[in-house]
Each structure stands twice: as C-alpha cells, then as structure tokens.
Amino acid sequence: MAQMSHATFARRALAGMAVLTIALMGLLFGANQFSNGSYAPKLGLDLEGGTQIILQPRLTGDKTVSPEQISQARDIIVQRVDAGGVAGAEVTTQGGRNIVVSMPGTPDKSTEDAIQRSSQLQFRPVLAIAAGSPQPEPSASPSSSASPSPSGSAVPAPSASPSASAPVASPAPSSSTNNSAVPGAFAAEPSPSASPSAPASPAASPSASPSPSASGGATGAKDPLSLDQITPELTAAFTALDCSKEGALEDLVDDDTKPLVTCDADGAAKYILGPVVVSGDKISDASAGYQVGQNGQQTSTVEIQLNLNGEGAKQYADISRKMVPLQQPQNQLAATLDSRVIVAPTFNEAIPNGKASITGGFGIEEARDLAQQLKFGALPISFDLQTRDQISPTLGSEQLRYGLWAGLVGLLLVTIYSLLQYRVLGFVTIASILAAGVLTYLAITILGWSHNYRLDMAGVTGLIVAIGFTADSFIVYFERIRDELREGRSLESAVATGWDRAKRTILIADGVNFLAAIVLYVLASSSVRGFAFTLGLTTLLDILIVFLFTHPLVTLLARRKFFRGGHPMSGLDPDKLGAVKKTSYAGRGRFTTNPPRVAGGEGSAS
C-alpha cells in the first residue's frame, strides 16, 4: 500500500510540475499578448547595448562640486538604478564632475526622472500661504502679517471643523481659495484638517503666534516658527511670485537655514516657509501604500510612511509639540521635495515616535518611486541631463553566439557522459536538465518582463555552470540509490531510502547556496546583485526539479520491470554494483535472495 501511495504521490508531483510549466507558459503568453513582454530573455548592457545618459551637475553662481559629492551622488544613483530591477546598469563618473549612467534597453521618462531627481525632502513650518497665481482678491494680505494685530481674532478653526470631514480634498465652496491646494494631512488620524481658512485668514492668524513660540524655549531670533523672519524682501518676493508661470522657481536659492518662498507641486498655492526643521537625511526608512482607515480598512488614499532616525524623531516631536497650539496656517508643517511643497498639513497632536506619514495627491506608483528615492537619500546636488545616446554592446555579438554554441556542445558532452555512467538512467538526468532548462528559460523571460532581469555575459556563463549544480543533485541521488542497492535492498526500497538520505544532502547544499544568493542580493549592489539573483534562481529551480521531476520520475521508473529486474543497461544492475546478496524469508520455510534472479525456492531445492 505504501508503494502504491509512493506512486500516486509521484504522479501527482509530475502533474504539479506540468501544471507549473503550463502556468509559466501561460503567464509568458499573457505577458506577450497583453503587455510588453517578449518571448526571448532580455539581454544585458554588454550583450545588447542600451542607453547612455550623462548627467551634469546644476551649478548656480560660483558653486563647485567636490569629488565627495560626486561619488556620494554616484552611490545614491546606483541604489536607485538597482531598485528598478536587476538590470545591471553601469554608473561611472566622467571628468570628475559628470555622472554617466549606462543602462540596457531604453529607459522611459519616469525612470530617467527617478535617477536624476535630487529628491531633497525637507520639513519647514508654514509662515504664510496664498493662492499660487495673483488673483483679484487682496493677495497682498501676507504683508499685513508682519504687523502683529492685537486681537485674538483667530476664527478659522471653528469655521473649518464643520466643513472639513474629508482629508483628501478641501470642500468645494472654497475652491477659489488657496487652501484647496493643500491636499493631504499628516495622518495620525484622518484629521478634519486642511480646509480651514478664508483667504484673508492668514493675515489674522499670525496675531496669536508670538506667545506660543516663546514657550518653545528657542531663542526668539532662531525660532523657525517666528514670523519675524518675514522680511520686506521676502514679502516682496512672495507677492511677485506667480506659480502658474513656467520656470517661476528657476532661480530659487534653497538655503536650509533661511526662510523660503516657494510654490506647491502643482502651482496652485504659494508659501512662505520657515527654515528647515527636519531634513531629509534623517529618514531611516520610507514605504508607500494605501492609508488604513480608522476601522482598519484600506482607503484609497495613498500615503508615504516615513520612519525618522533618533535625531529626526526628536526634532519632529519638538516641532509638532510646538505647532499644535498655533493658529492657521502656522500649525501647518510643509514637506518640500526639491524645494516645492508637496503637502502642508496641520498637526492635531504632537507626534513623538518619529513616524510621519504624508498623504498627498500622488498615485500609488508615484508614491512608491518617491518612497524609494527618499529611502536612499537625496542627491547632494541637482543634475541636468546633458546627453542621451544609444550605446552599442561592449562585447561583440560573436561572444554570445559562441558562448551559446559552447553551452550546447557542453550539454552534448554531459549527455554522453551521463549515458556512459548511468546507462538508461542517464536519460533521466538529461530529461531533468532539459526540464530545468525549459523552466529557467521561462523564468528568466518572465522575470525580464516583470523585474527587468537581464542576462549579461557573466549570467550566461553562470547558467552554464548551473548545469553542473543541477546535475549534481541527480548524481547525489543516483549514487545514494546505488549505495542502497549495494546494501542489498530491492530497487523500490532503495529508491525510497536513498531519496530520504539524498534529500537532506541536496537541501543543505542548496540551502547554503540560496543563503549566499539572498545575502548577496540584499547587501551588495550592481553586478554582484545580478549574480546573486541568477544563483538564487537556479538553486530554487534545482530544488524544484529534483523534488517535482527527477524523484517522481525515478520512483515511477523503479516500478518498471526493466529497472526492477536490474537490467544490465538500466544503470541499476545490482550485480554490477556488487550488491550484497541478502536472504530474506519468503514464507513457507523458504528464503529468497536479493536480487531475485531465480525467484524463491532455490534454497529448499538444493
């Protein structure tokens, strides 16, 4: 009965293997039909060529770049490129100031942007807000903010609360006001935040500010929240700023320690912001996802969650504590990306744990890209695209062609060798290697489509070496079966026990390799990462093939008379293996020897 279940199990495993192969084929077919997949694996930079992008640092005035800045920028760009998949891009510096990124294929606009963008995230307190472009209304209102008006006429808060249930966008009636441009909130909770004031309110709110800011313990002059920082020049710049114009911020000078006049990302509002209170390099981790609502359900709001490191968390806690009691718009903390405000929500409560969350008007893809960039840190300088060229492969096409030919010849040699060594059983090896080949091909083609996995020359050789790894699992297994046969077991039981032992060996040996793959993939960069990926993939496929293909196949074959009877050509002939002859009780006082050349009875006959 046990053997029966072995066979059933084997058939199921083979069926599972077939289903897996067909599923992968279907996936590949689907990728080709409905997406931009291809039936051939994608090739790497050295085999296929690609695109070369030269980035030039943007230097305003007489600034210069230091070699450290360039190499730091290079490292960050490498990380960003790596985050885009296993493409095997090459990032070098040129002439000590430019950065050259060579990547296989043709990168799309968003990839290029993601590489180039400096991604400088900063948190600055809001001092004043106005509509992004001049309006007939008295847009000069911020100017009055400098003069502290005596009254506590900070009405906006009560007026806001009834209308402000939606954190995503502000109420429709106030569409002409500046605040409609502030789309999100620091989402400790979906707060009734950012829709409070009428256009005139910024003027009113500053009145309350002097007293709370004094309580913060910071010296008056250095307090980033202080409205004293709004000098007449700033006011003038602020009034003159028209966010709807192209290039309104071209000559923006972003100094961390000074107030900043800027626009928000879509130009609908303009801001006067205080100095940086928490800078982007304090971010230890960033991830993007959908916001989880109060009842634990996912909402459709996309948020980026930031983890700040110790220092950043402290700064963030301080500033949030100080800001909570302030009036609109001074209780808003603006998050700026590359000097533009992406979101400026209000604080409802102090946030002590250094976990900030930004919701804003971005889609999930954009948010993920942004989170990646935030995680790897900002580029120390901004870069402009200088040139963009097609680049030819660095290795001649004949290298790949001969490499593949050599691989085929090698496969042929392996075939001959295993047939010599294992006779008919050698066909199992070959079938397994072929199955592994088919699966590998499918896997790398699909991964090329989904993860931009590209094969470079080292990858091709790696796959050729993988033939050895894969074959070894079978050899370990077959040798175990032979060992068990030598011990005098019947073939079926030799297969079962041999498998039990070989399984352990295969698992630990492959496990070590898989460990190598994971560690190198997570910790290393560039081509080492590509290697790790290939290694992990082939190791995984090896285990899959041995468990779901080779072993079931051998189990089923062991039931065939050809193998069970130990045919000399089967490669499992106990005689040839010098099997110990074992006697076992066959019932009715008779004994049989194993292998049963003359079945039973022999003992009693003589």
Partner: protein, 399 residues
C-alpha cells in the same frame, strides 16, 4: 566496467584511497599551491580593469562609424585583443567611444591623434576625459561586507546543521584555499580582472562550498554511525565517507566541468582572449580546485581539528577495542563448511564467547550460500546460538 567496479570497491572499503591517513601530504600540496598563489599575487599584481580603477575615455564624433569600427579603434591603439582592457563601443549613430586604462596627458594626445587619423576626422573632434570606476570602492565595500556576513551565516548554519563548529571551520578553510588559488592563478595569467571575473570568483565560491557540504554530509552520516556502534575510529569513518562519495565527486566535477571545458575550447579556438575565455578559465580552475579541496583537504582538516576532542578520542579507543576483538575472533573462528570468515558457522562450538562476537560484528551476509547440515539454506542469524536461534548479547555487553 572498471569505473563501476571502482565505485563498488570504494563503497565497501575493499579499495580505499588513504585521504585521511596521508593527510600531511595533501596539506603540503595545498600549502605549496597557496604559497605559489600568494607569491604570484605579490609579484604580479592583479591586472584590474578600468571598471575598478577608472580610466581615460575618448570620443570620436562626426564620423560615419564604419562597420568594423571596433577593430579599427583597437588597431589605432595597438591593442589587438580584448585582454588589454580597451573597450570600444558605438554611441548613437555618429560617435565611437573608446575606453582605456588611465593615460597621462602625452599618451592621451597621442591616442587622440591616432584615433583622428584612423577615423579621418580632425583632432578637434576627438575628445578625451577621465572616467571614474563603475565598480568603485563602494561596490567593493558592499560586496565584501555581504561576503563576510554570508560567511558568518554559513558558518552558523553549518555549525547548527552538523552540530559541530569544527565542520564549519574546515569547510571555510577549504573555501579560502580555493579562492586564494583561483585568484593566484589569475594573477599569473595576467588576464584583466573585470566585473565578470569577480562574478566568476563568486561562482567558484558557491561551487566550492556546495561541494564541501555534500561530502561533509556523508562524513556526518558515517561518523554518527561510528559514534553509535563504536566499530570504527573517527578517522577511518571519515576516510570511508570520502571514498564513498568519491564517485559522486568525480561524476559531479566531470559534468560541471564539461560545459566549461567546451566554452574554454571554443573561446580559445574561435574568439581569443575576451570575457568569455576569462570567465571560462576562472571557472575551470575554480571548479577543479574546489573538487580537490572538498575531497583531499576539507575532510582531513576536519579529522585534524577533531583529533583531540574527548568524544573522538573515546571513539578511537572503543574502535581499537572492537577491532582487536574482531581480529581475535577471526583468528579463533574455525574454517566452517564453505564459510567465509565473516559470520562463521558457529554451530558446533556455540560457546558464549564466539556467539557474542558474531552478533556484535553484525555480519554482512556475504555467506548466503552457506548451508546447514541438512543442506538447506539458512539465514545467518539462524546459524548462531543454541538451536539455531538468534542470540542477544548479555545485558552488560549491550550498548
């Protein structure tokens, strides 16, 4: 059928390669190889490619880029093959990019002139700049850190799996041995080390550790058995394990190396020096050295490391006792009716002593042919003990 006979003999221990007993020889061989490799590294510094150290880059613009631009550019630089670290590629439609190792100003000017002449453009259209390394220090640092963490993890995993840290240590020493020799041979060949070569080294590393683990798994099995029955000393059990996996090792190495050999031959015959040949060479050497170390170095090292362990010393004593007992028994055992020495037909003189021994030395039934007086075939267990019954050793003698 000689090979399969060899496999059988190695399995039963009839024939045996004295890997463990002769371990000093193998240590010396390995040490000499490693010394040569290290010396090679000292004399002949690794020829690092421009991916590691940066270099000079020339761009020829405004040319129509002839089809054989690559060989033209190479000839202009006097570098006929790929091993000299010259990379030529085409940018866009009208630019040829040539990267070389770092040149000084005079050399640069010379190369500029030659390139301009070759592609028949004015010298002004050949620009020269320095390029930084694409595989910079940070990549190396990250890779090394990853490697160190990996090795620590592997050591931990192996120590847990084999329940013995010395096995992990032996495996790692064998690994270091393979890497040193492979890198050393690379420095002798003076081939340029490119990122692809580094990947080759990593592949060798993976292969070496894989191979060692497979052999060690058999060592573990055999020595565990020895610890359980005390019939074999640790060194003997380990030696038997190496011999029993020898056929596997040979087969695996052959199958692993055949495709590489094909690449090597094809590369040498048709392509000449280049990435493909470099990689094939490093892998060829690495896999051979890896196979050597997993057979001839790792296990002997393990035996040397564990020689002083209390458990091993105790096992050796037990094994010696057991051996002596078996020898004595062999001498005492009468030559039975057609019996070979193993089980002995102890029917006649079934005195306690002999019977105990034969149970103890669980006879491999090599004597299935042996028959009793009735001429009927009888199982070996039934041949000993009074009334042909199997007999157990007295309680005091049991383990």
């Amino acid at each position: 059928m000689k090979f399969s006979d060899l496999g059988n003999d190695l399995y039963t221990g009839k024939r045996s390669i004295p890997v463990v007993p002769k371990r000093r020889t193998f240590y010396i061989v390995s040490l000499v190889l490693m010394a040569i490799a290290v010396a090679g590294l000292g004399i002949n510094k690794l020829n690092l490619g421009l991916e590691f150290s940066g270099g000079s880059e020339f761009r020829v613009t405004g040319t129509s880029v002839p089809a054989d631009y690559e060989s033209m550019a190479r000839e202009a630089l006097g570098a006929a093959d790929d091993s000299q670290g010259v990379r030529v590629s085409k940018l866009g439609t009208g630019t040829v990019r040539v990267q070389t190792e770092r040149l000084d100003a005079a050399e640069s000017a010379e190369v500029q002139g030659q390139l301009a002449e070759t592609f028949s453009v004015p010298v002004g259209q050949v620009s020269a700049t320095f390029i930084g390394p694409s595989w910079g220090d940070s990549v190396t640092r990250q890779a090394l850190r990853a490697l160190v963490i990996f090795l620590l993890l592997v050591a931990a995993v192996l120590a847990i799996y084999f329940r013995n840290w010395k096995m992990a240590a032996a495996a790692l020493i064998a690994l270091a041995h393979d890497l040193v020799i492979t890198v050393g041979i690379y420095s002798f060949s003076n081939f340029e080390v490119s990122p692809a070569t580094m990947i080759g080294f990593l592949t060798v590393l993976g292969y070496s550790i894989y191979d060692t683990v497979v052999v060690f798994d058999k060592v573990r099995e055999n020595t565990n058995e020895a610890f359980a029955n005390g019939r074999m000393s640790f060194a003997k059990a380990a030696n038997l394990a190496v011999n029993q996996t020898l056929v596997r090792s040979i087969n695996t190495t052959a199958i692993g190396i055949l495709p590489i050999l094909a690449v090597l031959v094809v590369g040498a015959l048709f392509l000449g020096p280049g990435t493909l040949l470099d990689l094939a060479l490093v892998l060829f050497i690495g896999i051979l050295v890896g196979a050597y170390s997993s057979i001839f170095l790792a296990t002997p090292l393990l035996v040397s490391l564990r020689r002083k362990d209390a458990a091993v010393v105790e096992l050796d004593k037990r094994a010696a006792r057991s051996e002596a007992k078996r020898a004595k028994e062999r001498a005492a055992a009468p030559v039975g009716v057609g019996a070979t020495q193993g089980g002995g037909v102890a029917l006649a003189e079934a005195d306690g002593h002999a019977a105990n021994e034969s149970v103890d030395s669980v006879p491999r039934a090599t004597d299935e042919e042996s028959a009793t007086i009735t001429g009927r075939q009888v199982h070996k267990y039934a041949q000993s003990g009074p009334r042909n019954q199997p007999k157990r050793a007295p309680k005091s003698r049991r383990k």
